[in-house]
Symmetry: C2
Subunit: 123 residues, 2 copies
DNA sequence: GTTAGTGCAAACCTTTTGCAGCTAT
DNA sequence: ATAGCTGCAAAAGGTTTGCACTAAC
């Protein structure tokens, strides 16, 4: 049911959001159970866990058809999704030079988004 | 003194590590003061704050001569540093395609390190 | 009857905040 | 006295854990 809830919510809901929604289906559901299941599903490779830098983890069903990474603006906190293939070249480079196998989904890249840049605050 | 402590520690100490070390110099120093100063120094652009995905923030003096990013292994938690210029091409691409100005230092990239990959666990 | 998963509540950890006091302007 | 920074203690927020209980094999 937890997995269905994550899928149903779409996007990248936080543990608390999953909890709220799942509890609507299973009365009496406890937050600890949600965390335990989220963790188990993550270990099982069925969901991704995401660190958006906000202090709370996000979750999403693993979906090969919609691999993407996140551009997080350090000023406004806005999140933009970019297709995973944008990092293909970088991934190849890192694999070659450091033997490091870059994750293929839900990496978080921090920077300044277009609108915050155009507001003209010096970097 | 906080700034000196971060510089003296080197690497990417956590707030708690800075606190411990700084307290050795200033008896009675409080954790709240460390957080307040770390925040102020970060706002002033003198130090970078880093999200290593461990739930506690890291800090480092901003040093144009040693710009780098972090490769964090999702299995062993090990951190490898890579020169910032590795991401130059990606940064240019993102700027062009999304108007997104990628941070130049201390980004965190998650994946699997060489030794964990060679231990042969399927990914 | 042993294992796995649950609710509940309390603990945990990092970080933030309210407040009173000190220092220098 | 006023503004700014401090210590202290307590709160906040997200997450984890101990324990007793239930359901399943």
């Amino acid at each position: 049911v937890i997995l269905e809830t994550v899928a149903h919510l779409g996007g990248h809901p936080t543990a608390h959001e999953v909890f709220q929604e799942a509890r609507a289906r299973l009365r009496g559901l406890n937050q600890a159970t949600v965390y335990r299941n989220l963790d188990a599903l993550h270990d099982a490779g069925l969901i991704d866990s995401i660190d958006p830098g906000t202090g709370q983890a996000g979750f999403a069903v693993r979906d090969a058809a919609h691999l993407h990474h996140h551009l997080v603006c350090s000023e406004c906190g806005g999140v933009t999704e970019v297709p995973a293939k944008v990092l293909d070249r970088l991934a190849a480079t890192l694999l070659q030079s450091h033997g490091f196998d870059l994750g293929t989904d839900h990496l978080t890249l921090v920077g300044r988004c277009r609108s915050c840049r155009s507001k003209g605050v010096p970097g």
